[in-house]
Symmetry: C2
Subunit: 144 residues, 2 copies
Amino acid sequence: MATDAFYMKKALEEARRAYEEDEIPVGAVVVCGDRILARAHNLTETLTDVTAHAEMQVITAAANALGGKYLNECTLYVTLEPCVMCAGAIGWAQVKRLVYGATDEKRGYRMFAPQAIHPRTEVVSGVMADESMALLKDFFKGKR
Amino acid sequence: MATDAFYMKKALEEARRAYEEDEIPVGAVVVCGDRILARAHNLTETLTDVTAHAEMQVITAAANALGGKYLNECTLYVTLEPCVMCAGAIGWAQVKRLVYGATDEKRGYRMFAPQAIHPRTEVVSGVMADESMALLKDFFKGKR
């Protein structure tokens, strides 16, 4: 059985892809059983679409792969704490487990809408947070 | 200059389309100047996707029509108070004005995440709320 760190590494690979495409480097994967159903990274600039966060896309892709709207048997891994929009989507999708990396002090849902997540969703934070934060800091340093 | 009620009627037409497609009847339009940039209705069942709310789609479509991510010169009309996910998206898009119809006591953002909307966004509620609520009640009555 693979660990949370194993899947978070896959999410970090997606974040690195975003970085290479000059997108804010956030990546996500959805895992059901021991299978990765979907992978995605932030594409807001490429798609000119504020809704194209990694989590939104990975939820859509995973539901498509499953043929059902609900991810209540799945774990969503994302390298950064979800924003309010993405937390709302994770709530609607009834994700079974949410595992995220770095904390987002400015935009994270826990500050603004802690109830957005479904009450039955198990939340794990801080998995490979240092790697995620290093990538984000590196990205924004290059922007200054 | 058309009134808010004029554009809300267009959003209600979209909600009726959703109803006819057996979707929860919520519709939205984005208006910039006096031009309707985009129209959309809820498609969560058709697309098997919890993220396919009217607001999410209309934001994506309007940004596509504009060629820019931000709707800071636009008004978003939606027949029902946005949920947390959609309010988050409306916040990211920096929508200039949000006009909604009926209040959503159970899922509306004002209860769970009032700060999700951008602080500069002007919010108007209750426009053609009775018509919107009548359509929703009729839909759910048919489901029982």
